[in-house]
């Protein structure tokens, strides 16, 4: 409702502006009538053919007074028009001042004055310029992290590091006589590199360690970053899967991000078409039931695909937008940029639970601010909250905030306490799960080896067939000539 009311004055102005266009022809009307005056006998009477000189000089007669009148009229018209325009401009200015004033009540104050915010606004535009279905994960991730560092990072350096590792991994696969076309083999290679460590190009790389310190990035947001992982060799459940995906991208392997409560991990399809879960924080392949045992995944969450579902490119981009918003919120706080960025994320992935939760946090901060501006200090107090009904825009905000709460509930989300998350990650490491993981990896390797063998045999068979065919063809040719003369 409020939105409509805002538009109404704007609409009036634009109609008024259009109304000016018919004014132009009317100012031309007198000219056309003065043209008619040429046929005026009075004018014709002045037979002085010297007339084509300057009309103002000698001809100070009725004709000139007519012109004067007309000029005066035109000037009057001009003045009126100018006055009108002035009035309109004032109205517009007034309106926008009032609007800005009203907005200042209903929008969070912007941090745009602070140093570094511009790099976030630029990052938003850079993300927006990416092709949603075909972009580089390294690039999108770099944009997000670079915004936090005030645009001071070097993309080429970042990218070439990943490219180098990817190339070395492929080289290693060739050395081991593995199939560099096999998606599973490539994924197994990345997984081994990250979780076990490996000697590449004469340098021993250690396994990426899980960094337990501030793993949610509460104190230092850059703890979430892949660039931090690359610098320190340790990461957490946000940076590790992303780094994995970047390597996969460079190696032309298919792998996807997937969510669990407070958690992300990697999914890829093996040669049998089954999804495998690569858990990088513990370096194991997990079965679905291990993930489900966290106890914080409701069946509704699975029905709505908020957890354990492989994210496509567009959905992953939504995640980057949400990361951008979260980084901004951590660095500066909540303002409308956070809301705008989250809306973009939710446009690409409406059910992304991370973005939905952030959106709810944003709305609550905004509601608290707006209510505060209107003199409602305690939102928990129902009597005080009642006063909000006098302010339609605030009321709408309250309703949106509530609607988002039930949206999150209906998606099947249950909050997971921090302790429970750590416990779950710890449980995952158990010996039984490690063994299960080994068995899974072994099975994948075996199936790959079999497939490769089959493929080789197939190739061999094909080659033999081809040979046979060729020899047959040559035989046919050979046969053809002797037969031909017989026919003759």
């Amino acid at each position: 409702m409020m939105k409509k009311l805002q538009f109404l004055p704007l609409l009036c102005i634009s109609i008024y502006g259009l109304g000016q266009i018919p004014n132009f022809p009317t100012s031309q009307v007198p000219t056309s009538s003065s043209l008619g005056n040429f046929s005026n006998p009075n004018y014709g009477g002045t037979t002085k053919s010297v007339a084509p000189s300057v009309p103002h000089d000698g001809l100070y007669n009725s004709r000139s007074s007519q012109i004067q009148q007309q000029n005066a009229k035109m000037m009057e018209e001009d003045f009126r028009k100018v006055a009108q325009e002035e009035e309109l401009r004032n109205k517009q200015e007034n309106y926008s001042i009032k609007q800005a004033l009203e907005d200042s009540y209903y929008n969070l104050p912007s941090f745009s004055g602070k140093t570094g915010t511009q790099s976030y606004y630029d990052a938003y535009n850079q993300l927006a310029s990416l092709n949603t279905d075909n972009y580089s994960i390294s690039e999108a991730n770099f944009i997000v992290e670079n915004a936090f560092y005030g645009n001071k990072q070097n993309y080429n350096q970042f990218k070439s590091g990943i490219q180098k590792t990817a190339k070395q991994l492929l080289q290693k696969m060739k050395e081991r006589k593995q199939d560099t076309e096999s998606n599973t083999d490539k994924n197994l290679m990345i997984f081994e590199y990250l979780s076990k460590g490996m000697k590449l190009g004469g340098v021993q790389h250690k396994a990426i360690k899980y960094d337990f310190g501030d793993y949610m990035g509460a104190k230092d947001w850059s703890k979430m970053f892949v660039s931090k992982l690359l610098k320190t060799g340790s990461g957490q459940c946000h940076s590790m899967p992303l780094y994995y995906l970047m390597l996969a991208e460079e190696m032309n392997a298919e792998a996807h991000l997937a969510f669990a409560p407070n958690h992300t991990y990697v999914k890829f399809k093996d040669e049998e078409g089954e999804w495998q879960n690569a858990e990088l924080t513990n370096g194991i392949f997990t079965t679905s039931s291990i993930i489900l045992e966290s106890g914080y995944i409701k069946s509704e969450a699975l029905q709505n695909d908020i957890y354990m579902k492989e994210q496509n490119k567009k959905e992953l981009l939504a995640q980057f937008y949400a990361d951008l918003a979260n980084g901004y919120a951590h660095k500066y706080g909540m303002d409308e940029f956070v809301g705008k960025t989250l809306d973009k994320a939710l446009k690409y992935s409406p059910k992304n639970i991370y973005a939905n939760l952030l959106k709810s946090t944003f709305q609550q901060a905004k509601l608290e601010y707006v209510a505060g501006q209107l003199g409602i200090k305690n939102l928990e107090n129902p009597e005080e909250l009642q006063n909000i009904r006098f302010y339609p825009r605030a009321l709408a905000l309250l309703q949106e905030t509530k609607a988002q709460f039930s949206n999150i509930d209906n998606l099947g989300y249950v909050p997971m306490p921090d302790g429970a998350y750590e416990e779950w990650l710890g449980n995952m490491k158990g010996e039984a799960n490690r063994q299960k993981s080994e068995a899974l990896a072994e099975r994948m390797k075996q199936i790959n080896a079999e497939k490769q063998k089959q493929k080789q045999q197939e190739d061999l068979r094909k080659a033999q067939e081809q040979k046979k065919k060729e020899s047959q063809q040559s035989n046919e040719k050979a046969q053809y000539f002797p037969i031909d003369p017989k026919h003759l």
Binding site: S288, G295, K298, L302, Q303, V414
Partner: protein
């Protein structure tokens, strides 16, 4: 156009008459089953007011061929209802949210189903005994009436079929709602409340288990959850689809050698309402299998010899059935259904008690007991 229609109806009618004339000998038309089907179908078409109680009793009555004492059952339900109302009025829950009225009803039905309660009658206090789980014949293989609500009411012992059904009936009698939900070989209750969103009530043990307990059964494939085969809160119409399945199953028990027509009719209607209803899909495929075997029988081919299965398919009708069956079993696998061996079922059910710490939603029990 109208004329064409009437011609068409006449044509169809004459076909129907022809079919009736030749087919009555084969089709086992049973009035009680037809009535029960009609009752449920009317509810599905909104021609008759929805009542889960009526649907359930109509199925059980069909099995008993009209001999079920529904008046007595209704009196017992009415007693439990007034008892539940008393509980609602005399007990103030610690639950604080705005849907407290609703939650009080759920808690009352839960108490009746699962808790021993003291009742004051004048000066003496007697103990109300809850319903218990019956470990005998949990799947109703020996006697299908072991699955019936009427049996539960008569003996106070039931299983994962009758107990959630009775729960749903009582909740609706109190003016509330209750959603049935399925797991392999299993039925339980789901409710949505303000404090917790969706939560589960497991009546066989009287525990509120987290979803992870069901998922840990090991027989629920992720796809089955996503496709709503299992763990989906079924709405009232989908619950009626369960009744249609029960009806078809009871019919098979009453008429073991039937031609499958009534069973398929009931099952197809159930699947229209709830397309990913695994048990119904399986029964449908099995019915087609039975029909196929009948055709083999007609050709005097023994079904134990695999050669004969090929031979039988020279009959185009048999071939069609075989193709249908293969497709149906494939579909059941595709939507994520995996069969849980029956002997695993009780182990799993008991795991909720032995691993209560791990799987129970304790917050809810605290809400409900005071």
């Amino acid at each position: 156009m109208k004329k064409y229609l009437s011609q068409k109806t006449i044509f169809l009618l004459s076909l129907l008459l022809l079919w009736l004339g030749t087919g009555t000998v084969k089709a086992q038309s049973n009035q009680f089953y037809n009535d029960a089907y009609q009752t449920i179908d009317n509810m599905l078409n909104d021609k008759q007011q929805y009542s889960f109680k009526e649907a359930v009793f109509s199925v059980e009555n069909a099995y008993y061929q009209g001999k079920l004492d529904t008046d007595k059952l209704n009196r017992e339900i009415a007693f439990l209802k007034s008892f539940a109302n008393n509980i609602v009025q005399s007990r103030d829950l610690t639950y604080k949210q705005s849907d407290k009225d609703k939650v009080s009803k759920y808690a009352a039905v839960y108490s009746i189903m699962c808790q021993t309660l003291p009742i004051a009658i004048k000066d003496t206090v007697i103990q109300y005994k809850p319903f218990n789980y019956d470990f005998e014949d949990v799947f109703g293989h020996k006697d299908i009436t072991n699955l019936f609500v009427s049996k539960l009411l008569a003996t106070k012992k039931g299983n994962c079929n009758s107990m959630p059904y009775l729960y749903k009936i009582l909740a609706e009698e109190l003016g509330g709602e209750a959603n049935l939900a399925l797991a392999p070989n299993h039925v339980y209750i789901k409710h949505q409340i303000k404090s917790d969103g969706w939560y589960n009530t497991e009546l066989t043990s009287g525990i509120f288990p987290q979803d992870s307990w069901l998922m840990a059964s090991g027989y629920i494939h992720l796809d089955a959850i996503k496709n709503g085969v299992f763990m989906k809160a079924l709405n009232n119409k989908e619950s009626l689809a369960l009744c249609l399945f029960d009806l078809a199953q009871a019919y098979n028990r009453n008429f073991p050698d039937n031609d499958g027509d009534f069973v398929l009719k009931s099952i197809n209607r159930a699947l229209e309402i709830y397309p990913n209803f695994a048990k119904a899909l399986i029964l449908k495929a099995e019915t087609h299998k039975a029909q196929f075997e009948k055709l083999m029988d007609k050709q005097n081919l023994s079904p134990t010899n695999p050669e004969n299965i090929k031979k039988a398919q020279q009959d185009p009708k048999a071939k069609e059935l075989m193709e249908l069956m293969t497709q149906e079993y494939g579909h059941i696998y595709e939507i994520g259904y995996r069969q849980m061996p029956e002997e695993m079922y009780l182990d799993w059910l008991v795991s909720l008690k032995t691993e209560r710490e791990k799987y129970e939603n304790k917050k809810l029990l605290n809400n409900f007991t005071k």
